[in-house]
Amino acid sequence: MIAELGHFALVLAFVVSLVQMVVPMVGAHRRDAQLIGVATPAALLQFLLVAFAFGALLYLFIVSDFSVKLVFDNSHSEKPMIFKISGVWGNHEGSMVLWVLILALFGALVALFGKNLPDTLRARVLAVQASIAVAFLLFILLTSNPFLRLDPAPFEGSGLNPILQDRALAFHPPWLYAGYVGFSMTFSFAIAALIEGKVDAAWARWVRPWTLAAWLSLTIGIAMGSWWAYYTLGWGGFWFWDPVENASLMPWIAGTALLHSAIVAEKRGALKSWTILLAILAFSLSLLGTFLVRSGVLTSVHAFAVDPDRGVFILGILVVFVGGSLALYAWRAPLLKTGGIFAPISREGALLMNNLLLSAAVASVFIGTLYPLLLDGLTGAKITVGPPFFNYTFVPIFVPLLCLVPLGPLLGWKRADVKAAAERLIAAAALAFIACLVTFAFAYDGPWLAPFGIGLAVWLVVGAASEIAWRIRLFTTPLRESLYRARRLPRAAWGTSLAHGGLGIVVAGIVGVTAWQSELITTLAPGESAEIAGYTLTLERVGMRDGPNYEATVGVVRVEKAGRMIATLTPEKRRFPAERQEKTEPAIRTNGLADLYVVLGEPSDDGKWVVRAYHNILAPWIWIGGAIMALGGIMSLADRRLRVGAPTRARLRAAPAE
């Protein structure tokens, strides 16, 4: 009964979003307040209905109702509760319901808190948002109904892939989807602005927090996914330039560009048209990501059984939304008035340069990801585009961008004195140079580019700190005044610095792991030892352990350095009887500067065990830096000037340094 109610709620939500798509749009066109007024209740009702459907699905998973096919396919009664819950979105149908739930939630938020938006703009935004809901609800109802029943109901479920039974991974898709769908909001604003034919201050003020929220969610989602890959997949890699990863990276980069151009649009009224185009692109890339992952085209070479109807349907959605919005852009964008004159050397100019390089970076990922598909489709030739391609194309575009990052925030609006800005970065440049030399002295036998990478990281971190130091006049005024200024500094300024500094820490982590990873592959009998990076690893014994829904073979590895006992690591191999699959569980010991990463492999014939170990220098910094970047996003979002609903108060305060 619950399943049928859930299904019915989805059908109703579809009908409501149809109404929400059409009526307010017509109302805004005719300036009919009554029709416009439909938008808000419709958005709220749509959210309630989708939330009910999602709740129904959640309930079915929690009680393990195996008469529902989706639950049978993806759950098991003995699974820990957290994975029963994450099983809801650990599959195609459920994840699409989550997608639509987040979409409806964001629509409802605009309906609730968008009172200060012009009526017609709000109505149009909600109508565009509803059109996306219409497309995806129809997709769910026609090709991916999560509430299908099984008759007779099986006694036990077939389980969730063990790889997905992981705490970080359990909450990775919701973040990622919040990011993807967050861009639907900026997209709706962009389309509404094109239909309105104008972009005003209220528009830009609303677009920025949504972009920021979407970017933040995507940052968290990607970082979680990469962290998960690092500690699960068992060889210490963290990013593989895999098409599915690239699918999430592209909207992230485009979103980063949008985040920066939206600042110019809001503060200076310039680059409006470009900002709208970026908003369209960021969401298009989110849709493309959904398409690539959901349709199975990326793996078609292996002829996996993925329902082709779904791929065609999402491709249809993609074509309609991307094609339609770009056509609308081509038609309406020339009508937008551009404002805000500025010289090439200025904050605006720097942000434009940021956008140029980020766009080229997106192009590199886009081409690298889709070219094999295109070539296969056109000529039948099959090629692989692996990590080296991105090292040759993406990295050379990104490195100059990183070099320019500390400079941008120090430039003034309209026209800047580049010499004055450079002077403020002397400390950063000097420290970066020293770091480069010191690194070279210690790691002269490693890859020669690595010291430059570390220098770049220091440049980013110290550069970000220099910006704050300059703003609060550290060392040039009494400390008391600096502290006072630090308190008065807008949170967005702290956010910028944190995000840029966090980026530097990520760079250091990536350089460290890539350049200086050491590896040990050996076989050990219990009692035998091996060395890696100054550590002595001794396999003490190998035992068995029972988990909640798996059995594990546990290796007990003693770690010593210079004869002193440091830790005991217990890497595991887990067997999941319900799913009939295995999973390795590496053991990681970190000291904040480097990870010691130990994996228990197969037993060999002579009673020994394969043991692999890695010493990953600076690896934890990748995720520490990612967390700092996300924190920067949160700080910016908390800035009162961006806080939704406070535009008038903000305007009064907008005077001092920022």
């Binding site: 990622l176 068992g234 766009s359 692996g386 391609f389």
Partner: protein, 160 residues
């Protein structure tokens, strides 16, 4: 991220490549040759996996390919000859780095092209902006006065 979403569909079809790799028994005794074999393995794709190199995969086929690579190296092949040997048998699909040839010109040059075209458009845009500022119409004295007004009076805050 990678595998997550993909796994949602593919999990049942493919042996999960969690545990990789070169087992100690596979290795060549000469460390220089072994290092070469590792480098080559990173550049060859495991055909039955999802975008993994044979160095990263524990699939049976990847093991076979690793053995072939080591056999060729032991037989005295150069790196280039090893690649050619493998490509002859499995096609260019096995190469992680696609070769630069007519079919991949657009791939290799595409990002650069986007950068150049984007740069040209940006430069044109900035030139237009500059003309709009009417800067050209000012005399030297006016420019100096302007600079004085915009920078000299408030040396710090003007840049904030």
């Amino acid at each position: 991220m990678r595998h997550i979403l993909a796994t949602l569909f593919l999990s049942l079809m493919l042996t999960w490549p969690a545990l990789a790799l070169v087992s100690p028994s596979e290795r060549l005794s000469d460390p220089v040759q072994e290092a070469r074999a590792r480098e080559i393995s990173k550049e060859l794709r495991c055909l039955v996996c999802q975008n993994q190199s044979i160095d990263d995969s524990d699939a049976e086929l990847a093991g076979d390919l690793r053995r072939i690579v080591r056999e060729r190296i032991a037989a005295g092949d150069t790196d280039e000859e090893v690649f050619d040997y493998v490509v002859d048998r499995y096609g260019e699909f096995v190469l992680m780095t696609p070769r630069f040839e007519p079919a991949t010109w657009a791939l290799w040059l595409g990002p650069l092209l986007v950068l150049l075209v984007g740069g040209a458009v940006t430069a044109a845009f900035l030139r237009r902006k500059r003309q709009e500022t009417g800067e050209a119409g000012l005399t030297e004295a006016e420019k100096a006065r302007l600079a004085e007004l915009t920078f000299a009076e408030k040396p710090r805050d003007s840049a904030s």
